[in-house]
């Protein structure tokens, strides 16, 4: 067992010989008016374990409120500024779009109106830009947050052009942004103890010899098949240059 772990670590550490850093956030214990979720904490743990197995140094934040999310994001950015390399950000929890921008909802946000998202949630669009500004070589941003907008049942939710699911993005260069479902669509919280997208992503990124884009294609196929076409993950990419492998052959 020990030797197996050591071997995995050595393999992972040697993968492509560059720094790999991840911030993984799973928010489940929401309080009213945001409905609690069942799976994001499990999903975050599973993704975290998968990333560690392929050589990422992972910072895991569970049930993070706004202050905890701010701290985690800034610490992550500081690491990237110091060490560079590959950045991987994963968020599972409630997300919503307001006027074309996507917001990640912290625990305790208590959003009564959409405009409160600006101060009480984290702007994923800006987050992508911030990661780019750290100077990291490659940024992979996963928003497993396409659950139902907690505000869409409110009478004022339709204002501002907002709706269900997340809004499409135009990532900064050197960035791949992946959604667990198509923009404007929502995913269920899952009926088991983990979400469909996280399950397949954690499994697929450990497959040796798959370039990054292939990983997401396989995840899409698996999720679409298992959900019988109800959930179709998508990616927005501005990646160029040589392929990135979570685990080379």
């Amino acid at each position: 067992m020990k030797w197996g772990f050591l071997l995995a670590t050595l393999i992972a550490f040697g993968v492509q010989g560059e720094e790999r850093h991840a911030l993984v956030i799973g928010n489940a214990a929401y309080t009213a008016p945001e409905p609690p979720l069942r799976n994001p904490v499990n999903d975050a743990r599973e993704i975290s374990a998968a990333l560690k197995s392929v050589g990422f140094e992972v910072r895991l934040a569970l049930d993070a409120d706004h202050a905890a999310m701010r701290r985690a994001i800034r610490a992550f950015e500081d690491t990237l500024r110091r060490k560079g390399g590959v950045a991987f950000f994963y968020f599972a929890g409630h997300g919503l779009q307001v006027e074309g921008r996507n917001y990640l909802v912290p625990i305790g946000a208590r959003l009564q109106r959409e405009d409160q998202a600006l101060a009480r949630a984290v702007d994923a669009t800006e987050l992508v830009q911030r990661l780019r500004e750290t100077g990291s070589r490659l940024n992979i941003v996963i928003l497993d947050a396409c659950r139902n907008n907690p505000l869409t049942k409110q009478p004022y939710a339709a204002r501002g052009g907002s709706g269900e699911g997340l809004a499409p993005v135009r990532p900064a260069s050197g960035t791949l942004v992946a959604f667990a479902a198509e923009p404007g669509h929502v995913v269920g919280d899952g009926t088991a103890d983990r979400g469909l997208y996280a399950k397949h992503l954690a499994r697929t990124l450990r497959v040796p010899g798959l370039p990054l884009e292939q990983v997401f294609k396989r995840v899409r196929e698996a999720v679409e098949q298992e959900s019988r076409g109800r959930q179709v993950p998508v990616e927005f990419s501005t990646l160029t240059g040589s392929d990135f492998y979570f685990l080379p052959r």
Partner: protein
């Protein structure tokens, strides 16, 4: 009455140097015109030496221009308003206004000197230093921090906001290089900044 002439009258009113009849005329005009009342407040501030506390309306002359004009008028035109301004009735008020302006300039110069003398000259490394020798910090303030708290901290640090806030509350603040260490300590120990970082120089 011509506008310029009434402007002179308004200034004299602010200086408290009009007779009862002229005062009544000015007050009637003030009752009818809010813009006139705004200009009166500016002249009153000039007379009270409180110019620094008010934003100067762009359409009005600064106090030193007024005094210079008064002096020039006294030299070149013995008749008219400026002669009257320089006459026995208004000479004390004009002198007081000039004195207040000089005193104010002296106080400002003193404050600037004091600020510069507060901290020894030290360089901060590493940090982005702009062409004008300023160091840029990224500072995120606690969401509960008040505008007054932030303003007081910036004044003490000698910092100027050059960008922000971003969505997570980050500001970019420029500080003179010789105050960078001092400003960094101030930010870190302020209790209202949850994140402080000297921005790296561009590579």
């Amino acid at each position: 009455m011509a506008d310029a002439e009434f402007e002179d009258l308004l200034f004299a009113y602010a200086a408290g140097s009009l007779d009862a009849a002229a005062r009544a005329r000015v007050e009637a005009a003030l009752d009818a015109d809010p813009e006139l009342r705004r200009r009166l407040r500016w002249y009153e501030a000039v007379c009270d030496g409180m110019v620094a506390r008010l934003p100067q309306p762009p359409s009005l002359p600064s106090p030193d221009v007024i005094v210079a004009a008064a002096r020039a008028a006294r030299r070149n035109a013995p008749r008219g308003f400026f002669a009257w301004l320089a006459g026995p009735a208004l000479r004390p008020a004009a002198a007081l206004a000039a004195l207040l302006i000089v005193a104010q300039a002296a106080i400002i110069a003193g404050l600037v000197g004091e600020r510069a003398a507060q901290e020894p000259v030290r360089a901060l490394t590493p940090g982005a230093q702009s062409a004008d020798g300023a160091v840029v910090f990224v500072v995120a303030f606690d969401p509960q921090a008040t505008e007054a708290d932030i303003r007081a901290l910036l004044l003490k640090a000698g910092g100027t906001i050059i960008d922000g806030p971003r969505q997570l509350g980050d500001y970019r603040i420029s500080v003179p290089a010789n105050r960078a260490d001092y400003a960094k300590s101030l930010f870190e120990e302020s209790g209202i900044a949850e994140y402080v970082r000297a921005e790296e120089a561009a590579k």
